[in-house]
């Protein structure tokens, strides 16, 4: 098992290096095919790793109890010293929390590579783009599987630079200054956040004397004030930039609006999850008391994010920005779920993580398709009546919008529902009345979410076809689009009707 994990970590990196070693003249098509094969292999590997047991090591005090309850918590463990002087170890493993996210990462990367077979940014240089995507994949999988704070930090950072390049080089070709600015803002804010996070890690190290997550989880840093609180605050702020939590979200709309389609998909589908994963994996188990002290404030910001994100969407005129802002709202739900510290909330957050990755990935693919066909993502320039011009894409957009607004029966619902359920009954140490208020506001946020998605459908898909004649060259859903989107659509429906597929993985957190 551990060989598979090491394999899916190393394969994309090595493949990317090999790809750069090959002369640039191999052609875009071949590079994309190469990327598809590699990421396909990673996907297969990640599916082989899929855990067959329940349980999570985090809330289980000792190894003995684990064995008694009959759950195998960590799989594919590799634990070797890395920087012995600092006590840093190369400790990677997977469990049921990280596994779905790893599979999601592998899937989205695979889909992005497949998509690049036919549809690539106008700037060209597909070979480098594919290589960067593979590096991102390796970094993200590394972050999801690392059981050491420093290793997590390193992987967290590895992802940034390729993403910065992706936005900077392959971004919106009409606006070089804007895409450079967006990329810079993205990388600067995220680096600032991760610097704060590293400080928090160091404080944890000072208190506990180890960077190892397994040890830290089993003997957490207790105390809700002083140094633990400072550490929790630093880690939370650092991760909140990545999530992004209001008011640290400002990099997100720009980055998404300027990024190429595959960049947006990976950014929204995978990179944002690093933040929430960090909150669940590090903040909650390692600093439980401090997190409890902080949780109501975190929940407050999350609630503001839900409302502010939705309101901002209502006033957007750019389809990619709109979807980006919708991410702010959805990630707000996830953070709210985490900050309830209850089982339902955490389950909800984990579920919403996956669902958001799938649905928003699909939405960004659709937005990219619409943008490619009209050479702009501005709603007013695109015009209306997409149902008449591009009926299949319009229909899929409506489907994805409905999924994203949390329609029961599609994947988006269960996460939000469980989060709200968690807010209805948060952990015992938290002020319940406050959370009830948050729950009601968040519930109204879902109505606002519906409002802006319906506005999008109304302004884009519906309308009088006579006033918005079809462009001559606009073709409806192409085969490659259908192939690449099909897994996302299928998963959206599958997880919607059978949430247990994921929920039972997590057992009792």
């Amino acid at each position: 098992m551990s060989a598979i994990l090491l394999g899916i970590l190393a394969l994309p990196i090595l493949a990317a290096l090999a790809l750069w070693a090959i002369p640039a003249s191999i052609g875009d098509r071949l590079a994309a095919m190469y990327g598809s094969v590699i990421s396909g292999l990673v996907l297969i590997g990640s599916l082989l790793l899929w855990p067959r047991s329940e349980g999570w090591f985090a809330y289980v005090p000792s190894q003995d109890q684990l064995l008694r309850e009959g759950s195998r918590p960590l799989q594919a463990v590799t634990d070797v010293p890395w920087i012995p002087a600092l006590g840093v170890r190369f400790h990677v493993a997977v469990d049921s929390i990280s596994m779905p996210l790893i599979v999601l990462t592998a899937l989205l990367t695979f889909v992005c590579c497949l998509y690049s077979l036919k549809i690539t940014p106008r700037i060209g240089r597909t070979r480098s783009l594919i290589a960067l995507l593979l590096v991102i994949e390796a970094g993200v999988i590394g972050a999801f599987s690392s059981m050491d704070l420093v290793l997590f930090f390193v992987c967290f950072e590895i992802v940034l630079i390729p993403m910065w390049l992706v936005i900077d080089i392959w971004g919106d070709d009409h606006d070089p200054v804007g895409r450079k600015r967006a990329a810079n803002t993205f990388v600067l804010m995220t680096v600032l956040g991760s610097a704060l996070m590293l400080l928090g890690f160091l404080l944890v190290y000072r208190q506990a004397g180890t960077f190892d997550l397994v040890q830290l989880t089993n003997s957490p840093v207790l105390g809700g004030h002083g140094v633990p609180l400072a550490a929790a605050l630093l880690i939370a702020v650092g991760l909140a930039v990545k999530v992004p939590l209001w008011p640290l979200h400002i990099w997100l709309p720009d980055a998404h609006a300027k990024a190429p389609t595959v960049g947006s998909v990976l950014l929204a589908g995978v990179l944002l999850k690093l933040g929430t994963y960090g909150l669940i994996r590090i903040l909650v188990p390692v600093l439980p008391d401090a997190t409890a002290t902080m949780a109501p404030y975190l929940a407050g910001f999350a609630t503001v994010a839900i409302i502010a994100g939705s309101l901002a969407c209502l006033a957007q005129t750019d389809v990619k920005r709109l979807i980006a802002y919708s991410s702010v709202g959805h990630m707000g739900f996830i953070v709210l779920g985490i900050s309830t510290l209850s089982q339902a909330g955490l389950h909800g957050a984990l579920f919403a993580n996956i669902a958001h990755g799938i649905i928003t990935g699909l939405l960004f693919f659709l937005a990219g398709a619409i943008k490619d066909r009209h050479d702009t993502s501005d709603l007013r320039t695109i015009g209306r009546a997409l149902y008449a011009r591009l009926p299949r894409i319009g229909g899929l957009l409506t489907f994805a919008s409905l999924a994203s607004l949390g329609l029961p029966g599609l994947a988006g619902f269960w996460g939000e529902m469980l989060v709200l359920l968690g807010a209805y009954r948060p952990a015992d140490s938290l002020p319940r009345t406050t959370y009830l208020v948050f729950m009601v506001i968040a519930g109204l946020g879902t109505v606002l979410t519906a409002a802006y998605f319906l506005r999008l459908v109304r302004n884009l898909c519906q309308g009088d076809p006579a006033e918005n004649p079809a462009s001559a060259f606009a073709v409806d859903l192409s085969r490659i689009e259908l192939i690449t989107w099909a897994p996302l659509i299928t998963l959206t429906v599958l997880l919607g009707v059978w949430p247990g597929l994921l929920l039972h993985q997590w057992g009792t957190l």
């Binding site: 803002t185 089982q343 949430p499």
Partner: protein, 587 residues
């Protein structure tokens, strides 16, 4: 090709529902759970059940859906594939609601119905009113659904289960019970278009008429009534909730009936009448007695028949004439052609209206009487709620008779008044009434559309007798008098060629506008404010940080003079300072 497949699938599915209802009839109640997963101490998953209520609703849904699907074969040719697919999904969602034994499973059906209604109302998305009507429908029901979801939380966590059959009102503390049922009621109010979330239903009329029939007769709005009937034990255990329900229902039935009296479009009249009739069902439920529940369900079934019929008739008018507005229909009527050309439609619609109005002998009469009777028995036991319900239902019966009569006369008959009552509906240009439409091509709809009409017309009479006729003659005669009291003024106004419409009623009490001003405008303002805030406040900090960095770098750049000696001086000073520092720290 695809369209044909979906047509077949749609009709087949609805027949399957009917078949299922037939097979389940008489089967002893049972439940089954599947796809469960536990979250902490809660179990979240799906469950189905079968009992009398399920079978009854399945039958209603199946029959209406079959009628609608068949009718649509003739009615709709544009974008038929997506239409039939959505109607099928819509039916399936309602079936889900009906057979569900898990609150979450129910919620899935509940909200998927909302989404389907949104998509179907927006079927003619070229039209502005269809677009806004669709959005309004979805958002208002969604708002109610938030309350519904919270209600599920309260009740589910209170009872420790999300299974409907295991929800025991005795196990839930009274406070939670009242809170939970009130929250569920919010969802019901949204779904069934009761006050104060009533405005979406009349605005949903731009959708295709068969869809309206489906929404109004068997699915969507009926789901609210069904839900309370399903959770009747829980609801009736909370007196507060039942009182609130009664008040909401009574206000709604009068409000909606008044609005219907001033509406000038067939479908809008019918929409308001649906709101009003649903309120009658809710008022019966709010009595909290077995008789009340029975009366409500009885009325639900008869209402499904005659309301489905009426909407399908309106569809024929729309399909054959091109409009269902009084002002257009009357141009045909004045030549006397409409009644004669659309003979089947005229007859069936007359039956439907008679049933709706509660003319003795028709199904609506019996079911409404059951409601009045239940209310009377409850009132006689000294219940204030009973009295309120009784009075409101009686008033509503009169109002209903008024607007049914008004519509029937104005649509199908030439007024005996001078000049054919020019300008009764045409406000701006009275002489436009004199335009002579070409009536030569006017003929009745194809048989696929008429067959459902005939079937439903039969049901609109016969359903009154399936429950066994047990009339309280006093109540029957009182309600007959009420019908007459309502119908006579309508007749006299018509015969004088006048149709006074109070502004307040015509504008539907200004609720829609008020909501727009109260909610939509502030939200839009807030949205602009948020974007501006993001750009100028939060973005301002980020930009400020960037600018501060730039400024600092410009400042530091001044230090870089290019003079090597300066650099060296600084370096030596640095070394000295560090040495001093080390000495200080070391000592």
């Amino acid at each position: 090709m695809i369209a044909t497949a979906w047509r077949v699938a749609g009709v087949g599915f609805s027949l399957l529902v009917v078949l299922a209802a037939g097979l389940l009839y008489g089967v002893s109640p049972d439940q089954a759970a599947f796809l469960n997963s536990s979250v902490g101490d809660l179990t979240i998953g799906f469950a189905v059940r079968t009992d009398d209520l399920t079978v009854l609703m399945l039958a209603v849904v199946g029959v209406i859906a079959t009628c609608v699907q068949v009718y649509s074969l003739g009615y709709l040719h544009q974008r038929a594939a997506s239409y039939h697919a959505l109607v099928t999904l819509f039916t399936a969602a309602m079936v889900t609601v009906v057979i569900s034994d898990s609150l979450f499973f129910l919620l899935i059906g509940w909200e998927v119905m909302g989404a389907c209604s949104y998509l179907l109302i927006g079927h003619y998305w070229e039209r502005r009113d269809a677009r806004s009507g669709a959005i309004k429908a979805f958002l208002m029901t969604r708002l109610g659904d938030v309350g519904f979801l919270f209600g599920i939380f309260v009740l589910g966590l209170g009872a420790g289960t999300f299974r409907i059959s295991e929800l025991d009102p005795a196990a839930i503390s009274p406070g939670l019970l009242t809170g939970g049922t009130l929250l569920l009621l919010v969802g019901v109010v949204g779904k069934s278009a009761q006050v104060p979330l009533q405005t979406w239903l009349p605005d949903a009329m731009p959708g295709p008429s068969p869809v309206s029939a489906l929404i109004h007769a068997a699915t969507m709005v009926a789901a609210g009534v069904f839900l309370i009937a399903r959770l009747y034990d829980v609801f009736s255990a909370s007196q507060t909730t039942m009182t609130v329900l009664a008040v909401v229902a009574c206000v709604t039935m009068l409000f909606a009936a008044l609005c219907a009296m001033a509406a000038v479009e067939v479908k809008r009249v019918l929409a308001w009448s649906t709101v009003s009739q649903l309120a009658i069902m809710f008022s019966a439920l709010s009595l909290g007695t077995t008789a009340g529940r029975h009366a409500a369900l009885f009325h639900l079934v008869t209402h499904a028949a005659f309301k489905g019929l009426l909407f399908l008739c309106a569809g024929v008018l729309l399909h054959q004439v091109g409009s269902a507005a009084f002002v257009v229909l009357r141009r045909y009527t004045r030549r006397g052609r409409l009644r004669k050309a659309l003979r089947v439609t005229f007859v069936t619609m007359t039956i439907g209206l008679a049933s709706l109005a509660g003319v003795p002998g028709f199904a609506g009469f019996f079911s409404k009487d059951t409601v009045i009777e239940a209310a009377w028995h409850h009132a006689r036991d000294g219940s204030v709620v009973g009295w309120i319900v009784l009075v409101s239902v009686c008033l509503t019966a009169a109002f209903t008779a008024f607007y049914c009569m008004r519509m029937w006369l104005w649509v199908f008959f030439r007024t005996p008044a001078l000049a054919g009552a020019l300008g009764a509906f045409e406000d701006e240009n009275a002489t436009a009434d004199l335009d002579e439409p070409d009536t030569s091509k006017l003929r009745d709809a194809p048989w696929v559309m008429l067959a459902p009409l005939v079937l439903l017309a039969f049901a609109a009479i016969a359903l009154g007798y399936v429950d066994g006729v047990h009339l309280d003659w006093v109540i029957a005669s009182v309600s007959t008098v009420l019908v007459l009291l309502g119908a006579l003024p309508a007749y006299s106004l018509w015969s004088r060629g006048a149709d006074p419409r109070p502004v307040l009623l015509e504008r539907e009490f200004g609720v829609g506008t008020a909501y727009h001003v109260m909610f939509v405008v502030p939200v839009q303002l807030l949205a602009k404010l948020t974007v501006a805030g993001d750009r100028d406040v939060i973005g301002g900090y980020v930009r400020g940080a960037g600018r501060a960095g730039t400024l600092a770098s410009q400042g530091f750049r001044k230090l870089q003079t290019g003079n090597v000696q300066t650099y060296l001086t600084a370096a030596v000073v640095g070394v000295v300072a560090l040495a001093v520092l080390a000495g200080v720290i070391g000592s």
